[in-house]
C-alpha cells in the first residue's frame, strides 16, 4: 500500500509539464549521443552537469537520468545499421545486429532491440522501486566500520570483475586514491599535495576531471580514427518482430533482465559488462550456438535488454548507500551533492520528491523512448551521416564551456585538458579510467570511515570485524582478494615450473 502511495506521489511530481519536458529532453539527448559514436553518456552528463545546477534538483535528476538510460536505446541503432557501436554497451550488438541488417532484417533487429530495452529498463525500474526503500532502511544501521568494510568490498569487486589486467586496474585505482587525497584533510585541516594552489586546496574538482578523462580523451582518440559510416540500410521496414522472433527472444530477454539487473548493482558492473555477459550466456545456453555471429536475434535481444536493466539497477547503490556503481552514477551523485542533497539512506526520508521523481521518471522515460525511438529511427540514420570533422569542435566547445562554468575559473578548464591528455594516454596504455574515477570518489568515504572507526575503538582494529554486517563485507572482500591473488600466483608458478 505504501508502495502505491509512493508511486502516486512520484507520478504527481513527474507528470508536471516542466518535468515531462525534462524527461523528454533527457531521453532525446541520450538517444542522440547513443547514436553518435564518439560521445558517450559519461561525457554528456559531465558536460551538462554545470547547466543542471541552475535547475531545480528534481528537474536536473530527471534530465540526467534520462540521458543515461536514453543512450542505451540509441547505442544499438549504429551497431545494427553501421556496425559501429554508438557507445560501449552496444559493442556486442554489432555482432548479430549488423548481420541481421545485411540479411534485410534491420527493422526487426531495431524493433526487438527497442522492445527488449523497454522490458529490461521497466523491470529494472520495478526492481529499483521494490529494493531501494528496504535497502535504505537497512543502510540506516550502517556506522563507520560497516561503511569502511562495504567500500573496501566494493573496491575488490571493481578490480575482480574489470576487464583486462587486474594489476593494471589496481594500479590505476591507486592513482585515483592518490588524486582524491589532494587538498585539505577535513579531519586535521592539513594540506596534502596542493603545492600552494588555491584551486587544489578544495581538492581536484570531479567534474572537469571526468570531462577530461571521458569527453576530451574520447575526442582526441577519435581524431585519429577514420569513421567509415556507410549506413547499411537507409529505409527501415518491418520494425515489428513476428511470432517466431518473439519466441526466440523471450527467454534471452528474461535472462538478460535478471543478469543485467544483478550486474548493474555491482561497483564497476556497468551496462557494458551486462551486455557482454548476456551475449556469452545466450551463446552458451543456445541449442544453436553456431547461429551466433550470423544474425541470431537472441544475440540482439539478450544484450540490449541486459544493458537497460543494468542502467536501472545502477541507481540502487547510489540512491540508497551513496555508492556510485559506475562513472555516470558518480556524476549524477555529484549533481545531487551540488544541489545540497546527500545520496544515501537518508535521501528517501529527507528528499522524497527527488528520490521518487528519479524512479518514476524512468518509467515515463522508458515509455517515451519506445514510442519515440521507432518512428525517429529515420532521423537518427540521417544524423549518422554528419561527419566527425563537423561534430568534434562542437563537443569540445561544450566541454570547454562546461568546465569553465563549474566555478567560472579558467584553471578548471586547464585541469580538464590535463585529464583529457591523461585519459588519452591511459587508453593508449590500456588502463581503464573507470577504476580511477571510482577510487577517486570512494576514497574520501573510505578514509573517513577508517579514521572514525579507529577513533571509536580507541585504535582497535577488531572494530572492523565485530559488527556482523562489517564482518560479512570483510569476508567477501577477503575471498575476492584470495581469488584475485591465487590465479596470478598460479600462472606465475606454472611459468616457472612450479615448486
Amino acid at each position: 500500500m505504501e508502495m502505491l502511495h509512493n508511486m502516486a506521489y512520484g507520478f504527481s511530481i513527474v507528470l508536471e509539464p516542466t518535468r515531462l519536458l525534462m524527461c523528454l529532453l533527457g531521453v532525446l539527448i541520450g538517444t542522440l549521443i547513443g547514436v553518435l559514436p564518439g560521445i558517450g553518456p559519461s561525457a554528456t552528463v559531465a558536460i551538462l552537469l554545470p547547466v543542471s545546477i541552475s535547475m531545480g534538483a528534481a528537474d536536473a535528476m530527471i534530465l540526467l537520468a534520462g540521458i543515461y538510460y536514453g543512450s542505451m536505446y540509441g547505442g544499438s541503432t549504429t551497431s545494427i545499421l553501421v556496425n559501429i557501436p554508438g557507445e560501449s554497451a552496444s559493442v556486442v550488438t554489432c555482432i548479430d545486429g549488423y548481420q541481421m541488417a545485411r540479411q534485410g532484417r534491420a527493422g526487426v533487429a531495431l524493433g526487438m532491440s527497442a522492445f527488449g530495452s523497454f522490458i529490461g529498463g521497466t523491470v529494472g525500474v520495478l526492481g529499483l522501486m521494490l529494493l531501494a526503500p528496504p535497502l535504505s532502511e537497512f543502510a540506516l544501521r550502517f556506522g563507520p566500520p560497516e561503511y569502511f568494510a562495504m567500500v573496501l568490498c566494493g573496491f575488490c569487486i571493481l578490480i575482480s570483475i574489470g576487464s583486462g589486467s587486474k594489476l593494471k586496474a589496481l594500479l590505476i585505482a591507486l592513482v585515483g586514491v592518490f588524486l582524491s587525497e589532494v587538498g585539505t584533510d577535513l579531519v586535521t585541516g592539513q594540506q596534502r599535495f596542493t603545492f600552494g594552489s588555491m584551486t587544489l586546496m578544495d581538492g581536484i574538482p570531479l567534474v572537469p576531471m571526468v570531462m577530461g578523462l571521458f569527453g576530451i580523451s574520447e575526442v582526441l582518440l577519435n581524431l585519429e580514427t577514420k569513421f567509415d559510416r556507410i549506413v547499411f540500410s537507409s529505409t527501415i521496414k518491418n520494425l515489428l518482430p513476428n511470432l517466431e522472433d518473439w519466441k526466440a527472444s523471450l527467454s534471452p530477454i528474461a535472462r538478460g533482465t535478471m543478469l543485467g539487473f544483478f550486474l548493474g548493482l555491482l561497483p564497476g558492473g556497468s551496462a557494458t559488462l551486462a551486455s557482454f555477459a548476456s551475449y556469452a550466456l545466450e551463446k552458451r545456453v543456445s541449442r544453436h550456438p553456431e547461429k551466433f555471429g550470423k544474425g541470431a536475434i537472441e544475440g540482439v535481444a539478450g544484450p540490449e535488454t541486459a544493458n537497460n536493466a543494468a542502467t536501472s539497477s545502477a541507481f540502487i547503490p547510489m540512491l540508497t548507500l551513496g555508492i556510485p556503481a559506475n562513472p555516470v552514477m558518480a556524476l549524477i551523485m555529484a549533481a545531487l551533492l551540488s544541489h545540497g542533497l546527500q545520496p544515501g539512506p537518508l535521501l528517501m526520508v529527507k528528499s522524497p520528491d527527488v528520490f521518487w521523481a528519479i524512479i518514476i521518471s524512468m518509467y515515463v522515460g522508458n515509455i517515451m523512448l519506445v514510442i519515440l525511438n521507432v518512428p525517429l529511427i529515420g532521423i537518427w540514420v540521417k544524423l549518422l551521416k554528419v561527419p566527425y570533422d563537423v561534430l568534434f569542435p562542437l563537443i569540445l566547445l561544450f566541454c570547454l564551456i562546461g568546465a569553465y562554468s563549474t566555478s567560472s575559473n579558467a584553471e578548471d578548464v586547464i585541469i580538464m585538458i590535463i585529464f583529457g591528455v591523461v585519459g588519452y594516454l591511459m587508453r593508449k596504455f590500456e588502463y581503464e579510467p573507470v577504476s580511477l574515477v571510482f577510487a577517486f570518489i570512494l576514497t574520501p568515504l573510505l578514509e573517513r570511515a577508517f579514521r572514525q572507526s579507529l577513533a571509536m575503538s580507541d585504535g582497535g582494529f577488531t572494530i572492523f570485524l565485530r559488527p556482523p554486517i562489517a564482518l560479512a563485507f570483510m569476508i567477501v572482500a577477503f575471498i575476492l582478494i584470495v581469488l584475485l591473488i591465487f590465479p596470478l600466483m598460479r600462472s606465475r608458478l606454472s611459468r616457472t615450473g612450479g615448486l
Partner: protein, 153 residues
C-alpha cells in the same frame, strides 16, 4: 603493448615513490591513530610495489619471447591530437582576457579549418553560427557566467 607497459609502470613506480616520500613530510601518525599522511604513504608504497610487479612481468615476458624490451609499438601521438590540445590550452589561457565570444569564434574557426579540414568559408560560417548559438544558449538563456572581453561580449 609491452613497451608501453614498461614505460607506464616505470612512471607509476617513480610516482609511487615520490608520493610515499612526500607523505612522510605530512603527519603520518600511527595505524591506531592515523594522521593526514598515512593514507598517502600506504597509497605510494602499494603503487610502487604493483608498478614494480608490472615492470618485472613485462620485462621477463619480453625476454622469454626473445624480443627487445623496447621494441617498436603503435604510434603514441598524432599531430591532430597534439594540435587540438594546444588549441584548447590557448582557449583556457586567453578566455578571461579576450572574452568568451571572441575566443570561441577564433578556436572554432581553427578547429574546423586546421583540424577538421573544412574550407575557409565553411569554417568561418560554422564558427560564427556555432559561437552565436552557444552565446545565446549559455549566456543569454541559461545565464552561465562567461567572461566578457574588451569588446563587451
Amino acid at each position: 603493448m609491452r613497451r608501453y607497459d614498461l614505460i607506464s609502470s616505470l612512471v607509476f613506480l617513480v610516482l609511487g615513490l615520490v608520493i610515499a616520500v612526500s607523505s612522510l613530510r605530512i603527519n603520518v601518525g600511527t595505524f591506531r591513530d592515523p594522521g593526514s599522511g598515512l593514507f598517502p604513504l600506504i597509497t605510494g608504497i602499494l603503487m610502487s610495489i604493483i608498478a614494480g610487479g608490472i615492470f618485472i612481468k613485462s620485462f621477463l615476458q619480453s625476454i622469454s619471447k626473445g624480443r627487445e624490451p623496447l621494441g617498436k609499438d603503435k604510434r603514441l601521438w598524432h599531430n591532430k591530437s597534439v594540435a587540438t590540445v594546444v588549441i584548447m590550452l590557448l582557449y583556457a589561457i586567453t578566455i578571461e582576457w579576450l572574452g568568451f565570444l571572441t575566443v570561441t569564434l577564433l578556436i572554432l574557426f581553427v578547429l574546423f579549418k586546421a583540424i577538421g579540414g573544412l574550407s575557409a568559408r565553411a569554417s568561418l560560417g560554422g564558427a560564427v553560427l556555432t559561437a552565436a548559438v552557444a552565446y545565446l544558449v549559455f549566456k543569454v538563456w541559461l545565464n552561465v557566467q562567461l567572461p566578457v572581453g574588451p569588446l563587451g561580449l
